[in-house]
Symmetry: C2
Subunit: 413 residues, 2 copies
């Protein structure tokens, strides 16, 4: 069917009430929300979200990876789903919008259609992904990236297998959670930016170019610990001097790339770490992110060249071990175009930008057409009780999501 | 009287046996010696050393600062003492030569004279200074640098006042420990180098030019912690990038000075210290040492200029707080000349060098003529059970000390 999209609207008051209600579950006494995946608070929140899904006319199921999937039937029984969603788990002291907005706006979009007696050609799905903030097991299982290996879940102090039971998942059938383009034609996620680009530039909507890939390395520098008084400068093997050069090289490597990637030395530990001892050993991490795999590869090459030169110059040994590799996940051109058109039609200012934080959409991008809609985060603050997106901005995001879903129904017909 | 110095010799076997015996007190099961000042092991060692002093014909007293002072009477009753000595306390897992050699070689020198029925014009003193490895309260009290302020002794977990009781000191009379040139004409300390200059260059004896002064600063860099993915490079206030620049500036400042000082960032702590967060705060220490106060002053000035420039460039706040200032303590020309002459007469190769580690002699240099004799440390290793100076080298050091004391008796007549 064809829907007169200009007449469609979400109920912004209801959406923001739902956000407020979910923020009560896991609220910490001194601010922030602690709703760790698989915790009692997470289970309580899932129960609430299930009720809202059902009120919006969806059938709800939980897959083997614990993903809760609400499905609003389409008019054409043979079409694969158009999906949206995000997560409702938080970091140990998180904010109220990260993840939650995407889930509740998806439900609100379906409820709007439902209340107006509208049904798309495609089935619509709203997915609550399991454990986005730690293992990402939910979206990874759907994308086929979980192979049955043991996963330890540090916050819960137990295996992910045991965790899944708590939310109705089933580790023994984890491979059954896998999906493909055959049953998911497209996936769109609405999320707060968690950065300051939209907020500082005054844009209402971000059209995400894709989720950046990430190369993370553990670097160990071994020098010789020695007396800071009696060891002449030219007889030192100072691991911290080497680490300082590495830190500045990492910054320079990012600044040299035309695509404006980011690269960070975030963690650095010195040993023995005493004022009167020349440092003998430093362990540090390098985190590099960009939308282009070529850029990531080149930065890694540059880093290894720098490390070799620094080791020689400082007479230290430097070891570089990969600890995390995530491939970039570009957004589908078709979905980006639809989001841009929607913004234009609705009169929202839109800005194209990459997502430099990881999202469930990243995994969906590996199996089907993916897109993301960002709304501004005040001052870019995230993973904090200071995280803020105004009710109006939340409503704008949900409105763009609703119209995007409706147009994708036509694009993928 | 005039002594025929060429006939004088120490008993090297006895000296090295004493070193071995003292190394048993506080020996750790897996190597190293733990004989913290004021501990039961320290008290036991003091008792042993007191016996050796008495066997060498000395009268022993303990002053208010817990310094144990053996005195071998001179022929002239009115002359002030010529003194030597060092310490017998260790770091938590130290070696067997640091401090001990100077004390036991001093006793051996006196015993040699005593056994040959010789007595100098001046009284000879061998001083075991209290707590060289931590508060240096013993030598500082003698130099008048302890004013009665409360001192906390971290290893013992109690106040220095309580510690002093254990070794026969008396905090209430601490000012009485003070001495001057009037009753100490000269002080010479024999010590292992704790550096690798003599060992690597193959010299037998080091003639110390003085003990370097030290300026130590705590530097706090305050930036803004932020998401390592979503914060563009040009919007960061990265405290670790600033700290890296500080670390390299500290190295450059030392290398630019003609007197070859040392400067070290030995301790550095990052916060929040996570791979995915741009560092918001770094605390680090800067330790700078040189024999010239002018050089120390200039390095401090250069450091503060660098910090200002780095803060502006990295958009961070940088605070610099002095935490330790020790004035350089140059050796007396007269004593350096005597040590050099003795080496020449005895056929030992000698090399002039500064002491870049602190010593009790540093404090003595503030009240009287001071000199130091170094013997090589194998590979410069110190504060470790790997510390090593051969028995022959220990005997050579004691021999030079004995002859130096005898000649100083004439020089200061």
């Amino acid at each position: 069917m064809t829907v007169l999209t200009t007449a469609l609207a979400v109920n912004g008051d209801r959406l923001n009430q739902h956000i407020d209600q979910l923020a009560e579950l896991g609220r910490l006494p001194h601010g922030g929300i602690r709703r760790l995946a698989f915790s009692p608070e997470d289970c309580q929140a899932r129960q609430r979200v299930r009720q809202w899904m059902e009120q919006a006319g969806m059938k709800v199921r939980v897959d083997a990876a614990g993903n809760m999937i609400g499905r609003y039937a389409g008019q054409q029984t043979k079409l694969s789903a158009i999906a949206t969603g995000s997560h409702i788990d938080t970091v140990p002291a998180g904010g109220r919008y990260d993840g939650v907005l995407g889930v509740l706006a998806g439900i609100e979009a379906v409820q709007s259609l439902h209340e107006q007696g509208l049904r798309l050609d495609h089935p619509l799905e709203v997915i609550v992904f399991s454990d986005e903030e730690s293992s990402m097991i939910g979206s990874r299982a759907i994308a086929g990236a979980v192979k049955g290996e043991a996963i330890y879940h540090p916050e819960q102090g137990t295996s992910i297998q045991a965790c899944l039971d708590a939310v109705g998942g089933d580790w023994s059938r984890i491979l059954s959670a896998r999906r493909s383009r055959e049953d998911m034609a497209a996936f769109v996620e609405l999320h707060v930016e968690q950065g300051s680009v939209l907020d500082s530039k005054g844009y209402e909507i971000g059209v995400v170019d894709g989720v950046v890939g990430m190369n993370r390395y553990a670097i160990t520098i071994t020098g010789v610990p020695n007396h800071a008084g009696t060891t002449p400068m030219d007889m030192r093997h100072d691991a911290l001097v080497a680490a300082a050069q590495v830190t500045l090289a990492v910054q320079a490597i990012a600044l040299e790339q035309p695509s404006r990637p980011v690269a960070t030395v975030g963690s650095l530990n010195v040993s023995p770490n005493a004022a009167n001892i020349v440092p003998g050993r430093v362990e540090l991490t390098v985190d590099m992110r960009d939308l282009s795999q070529d850029c990531l590869d080149d930065m890694t090459y540059q880093l290894s060249r720098h490390l070799q030169a620094i080791a020689a110059k400082t007479r230290t040994d430097i070891d570089m071990t990969p600890i995390l590799k995530v491939k970039p996940s570009p957004a589908a051109t078709s979905i980006k175009s639809v989001i841009r058109e929607v913004c234009q039609d609705l009169g929202f200012s839109a800005h194209a930008l990459p997502s430099r934080a990881g999202h469930d959409a990243m995994e969906m991008g590996h199996i089907t057409d993916m897109g993301m809609i960002f709304v501004p985060s005040h001052a870019g603050i995230s993973h904090s009780d200071q995280e803020y997106t105004s009710p109006e901005q939340c409503t704008q995001g949900a409105t763009v999501l609703l119209h995007t879903l409706v147009r994708l129904d036509q694009v993928y017909s």
